[in-house]
Amino acid sequence: MAGHAEQAPQRVLIASANPLFGKGLEKLLRQRWKIAPEQVRLAGEMHAALNALDQWQPDLVLVDYDDETIERARFLDHLIQGGGRALQVVMVSLRDSGEVVVYDRQTFRGERAGDWLEQPWPTQPPSQEQPRRQDGMKHFVIVGVLVVIFTVLTNFGLQSAGLLPVQASAQATLIDQLFNAHYWVISFLFSLIGVFMVYSIVVFRRRGENDTQQGKFFKGSTKLEIFWTIIPLGTVLYFSYLGSLSLADIRRVEPQALVVNVTAGQWYWRFEYPETGITSGSLVLPVGEQVLLKMTSADVIHSFWVPEFRVKQDILPGENLVKELRFTPTLTGEYKVLCAELCGGAHANMNAPVIVMDKADFAAWEAGEMAAVSSDPAARGERLAKNNGCLGCHSLDGSPLVGPTWKGMAGSTHELADGSSVTVDEAYLIQAILEPNAAVVKGFPPGVMPATYADQFSEQQIADLVAYMQSLK
């Protein structure tokens, strides 16, 4: 089924309005290919030519077109729409520039198509530069070496750039291992594409403004395509597998974990230790013991994140949507939990201290917290203020934060948002806690302080808080 120049066509149709030309061409072809007279037909006008095309089914058609008697377009239609047999159509016009255009239709199935792709292009004109095969290999060798060098260099750079915070949890160590695996692949692919590109830009460039040379003509390679599909496919599947192992590792459950109930709200953190009844505004943890956080939100979506621990978990409102997070701190020190889901307003400053201490110190802390049920209302109030996030918005040193400072507040006079003025007495302070938006001080935003304290605190606790505020001169 081939129509290559090495063999001869079986049936040749010559379409030309010029009988002399047609006969001359026929003679030439029969000499060249040693074909019999009945293998050549002449057609002087379109009707006969198209009939012959349909019924006689030549495999080579020579068209001397003038687009009046013999029209190119209709032969081309035929070429495009005809059946699957091989067909070469050669267009020549004596009236135009003497240009000859060859259309070569071949149809292949299956592997033959692959074979055809591998064959050298048969009609490469002699004027085209043919770089020798060795030149091609030389480029690949240089590039190959450069890729290896840059992969190693890039990976080294990534590893030593100190890109990650200190590892303060068991999870951090496991996760950083996966980061390292990623760094290798990133380094390799960066170098591979980068080196090839830069090399091409430097070596395969146009030589001067007047260089009209074209690039080396090749259109594709099925083998290469399959290769660079399968290898990446295998790699991503492998990495996903590594990822699933890593996820399972960091979620390993220790039955004796320390449970801490976390409440996040706009813009505070509260930590409650159910075993000991302790409430705290800081997350205090013993080193080396797994922690199980059970987290809920008082309002919108927040997220718990300590960069040194790596793991992160969003926190949702709703009793049925409590979210858990497990990790094991491995390094004593002071860190911060940062809210990692935009929760409006002061999200940027929604932080709380995370203190990891060794086991003995932690036991001491626990004991201290449980014992500190003071008889002094102001001291109790101070603990409540610290443990319920009040100090996130109200300072003790006189500086205005999101809310007014408590220093010297009790007993002073303030202007309210509506222009009236008020003396900050006990009644006002109680109202300010229970109904925060009723009488907002001028210059401070309404609608920010939570209005849930009426449910959260008992009357005694409110009185203790007020006592504390009154003690701050």
Binding site: P131, R205, D299, L342
Partner: protein, 614 residues
């Protein structure tokens, strides 16, 4: 003065204002009749919808359809008289080339606007402490930056597709020219509404608008929702038109595997945008109704679930990023052969890789929700599907490299931006997998690492190729070429500045800087990096300013080029520049392969000489 008011755009905006006021009044009247007091928020939403409709009616995009509905005779689109001169860009035109430029204008305006928002909040972030913005202003600006730029990207893509595709496939215009004009003009009131969010209270949620936060808080979020809804419809209808055009209007002989690769890219893109976009509309609609009517979809107290929003939202918003990059990647594939003077390597594989990315792109949305508290059994499958997208993407990169390999590369400005796009998109693509793997993402989610990653992919997959496309096809629009000097200045300033910005962002993200924070603790050591990032951002903006100046000057005084400036085989370069009114004076036909650069005497298309007397 009279001329000003005769401009369609002006009439449309006036009608939008009238309609908005009328809508607000109407809702107030209805509420009063029901015995309810005035409430601004529902009035604004209703007014906004009515205003968008009156804009579209007032500017005249619906007139022909109205006539059709009434059974009146309506001329064929190609017989409609086009307004001559510059005024035609300000009113309804059915010519895809005009519409393409109109989308281009709107895209550049929103680009400048969204970029300016970033410069403002980056200035705030250059130092620790809240310097001149308060929390609400900062949060509003980052949300506006995100969504206004998303709108800009959608419109820039529409600009490229509208202008180029019909020319490239040998068609006279798009399949549905009136729908095309309608789709463009919808984007104008949509953008107006979106931007108005800043002026009616702002919003606190960032562009992702998660409830419950988006259900509470300032009213600006409603204008944000409404604006996106309308721009989304513009996108849906525009891509519907593109699919029909690409499938039905190619020149004779242009089989699917003989059409320019950019058409494949736009086909894949349009399949995504015509379908997935409905889901962001639905999810926003649900929050709007939760605010307006108390419909508790996402409120746990009512039995709702905030995670449902995230599923619906990301079901669009992930494929959306492939909408954003597939056209640009198509531009890269389209231009590399021209400037390497050799065929696109593995054309079929590149074409199908666009479809592959589009398909797999629908299956990965959960990777935005790894920390959300969604169903645990979903995390690992989404990780697998996410990493899988690397395979068709890799095929593109390897094909580009193979296209350049052993070529005869030339480096005019479009090629610089193509190469820059490849490099930057490579950075984006390589920094994706750590976020696509669950355990590493637990550290990276909601940090500046993510910000760096997606700026890399957006610039590499859209911004750089967009610039390449504009420098490349500018002669087809204006008959002149853009200044090479200014173009090179633009490029050589943009690339290093941008890489400084994103590497800086990724670095501090890894070290613990969260995203969307108005302020940061100076003790974390991020101050210097933030300053560098801010400076880099200003340099990026300055480079874009150079580009705008180049556009302005070149349109007026650029070097005239009437022929095939880049020696491209593609159909649009076989006709004069600027492209004539109905594109092809004589129809064309495909007689060869699109990318046989370097094959002597081969042609891709030729004109079909019409027999005399037709």
């Amino acid at each position: 003065m009279k001329k000003f008011f005769s401009l369609g755009l002006v009439r449309g905006l006036i009608w939008q204002a009238i309609g908005t006021a009328a809508g607000m009044g109407l809702l107030g009247a209805i509420r009063a009749l029901m015995g309810l007091p005035w409430k601004t928020e529902p009035a604004m939403v209703f007014g906004g919808v009515v205003g968008a409709i009156t804009f579209l009616a007032g500017i005249g995009t619906m007139r022909d359809w109205w006539h059709m509905a009434l059974g009146k005779p309506v001329p064929e689109a190609e017989e409609v008289h086009e307004t001559p001169g510059g005024a035609r860009y300000f009113g309804v035109s059915l010519d895809h080339k005009v519409i393409g430029v109109q989308y281009g204008f709107l895209s550049m305006i929103t680009l400048a606007l969204g970029g300016t928002f970033a410069l403002i909040f980056r200035t705030e972030l250059a130092q620790a402490g809240l310097d001149f913005l308060n929390y609400l202003q900062f949060n509003t600006l980052i949300g506006m930056h995100g969504m206004v730029l998303i709108a800009s990207i959608l419109m820039g893509i529409a600009a490229m597709a509208n202008f180029i595709i019909p020319l490239m496939i040998g068609a006279k215009d798009m399949a549905f020219p009136r729908l095309n004009a309608f789709s463009f003009w919808m984007a104008v009131p949509g953008t107006v509404l979106l931007v108005s969010a800043m002026f009616v209270g702002g919003f606190e949620t960032g562009w992702t608008a998660y409830p419950p936060l988006s259900v509470r808080g300032p009213m600006g979020i409603q204008m944000f929702f409404l604006g996106v809804y309308i721009v989304g419809w513009s996108s849906i209808l525009g891509s519907l038109n593109l699919i029909a055009t690409i499938l039905m209007m190619r020149a004779p002989g242009m089989t699917l595997f003989r059409m320019p690769i950019f058409a494949w890219a736009m086909l894949a893109t349009s399949i995504i945008s015509t379908t997935a976009t409905q889901l962001i509309g639905l999810s926003f609609q649900m929050v709007m109704f939760e605010r307006l009517l108390g419909m508790g979809f996402f409120d746990p107290a009512s039995g709702g679930n905030p995670i449902l929003f995230q599923h619906l939202f990301w079901f669009y918003s992930h494929p959306a990023v492939y909408i954003f990059v597939l056209p640009g990647l198509g531009v890269i594939s389209e231009l590399l052969p021209v400037f390497a003077r050799k065929p696109l390597f593995g054309y079929r594989w590149v074409a199908l890789s666009s479809m592959g990315i589009a398909l797999t792109g629908f299956l990965v949305w959960g990777h935005h929700m790894f920390t959300s508290g969604m169903e645990e059994y979903l995390r690992v499958p989404f990780m697998y599907s996410t990493l899988l997208v690397a395979v068709p993407t890799g095929i593109k990169f390897f094909s580009w490299v193979a296209t350049m390999w052993q070529g005869r590369l030339r480096f005019p400005t479009p090629m610089l931006f193509v190469l820059g796009g490849v490099i930057v998109f490579l950075m984006g693509g390589l920094t994706g997998p750590p976020s696509g793997t669950v355990s590493t993402d637990l550290h990276l989610h909601d940090t500046y690492y993510i910000v760096g990653h997606f700026h890399n992919t957006m610039f590499g997959g859209y911004i750089f190729p967009l610039f390449a496309a504009i420098y490349y096809w500018f002669p087809k629009i204006t008959g002149r070429r853009m200044s090479e000097k200014l173009g090179k200045a633009h490029f050589w300033l943009l690339l290093p500045a941008f890489l400084l910005q994103t590497f800086g962002q990724m670095r501090i993200g890894l070290l613990g800087m969260r995203r969307r924070i108005a302020d940061y603790d100076p003790e974390m050591g991020f101050t210097f990096s933030n300053q560098l990032i801010t400076i880099a951002g200003f340099l990026v903006a300055f480079s874009v300013l150079i580009f705008f100046i180049n556009l302005w000057i070149s349109a007026r005084k650029g070097e005239v080029v009437e022929g095939n400036l880049w020696e491209s085989r593609s159909p649009e370069w076989q006709i004069p520049s600027p492209a004539p009114l109905h594109n092809f004076a004589e129809p064309i036909r495909v007689v060869g392969e699109p990318y046989d650069y370097g094959l002597p005497n081969s042609r891709y298309v030729e004109t079909v000489r019409q027999p005399a007397g037709d």
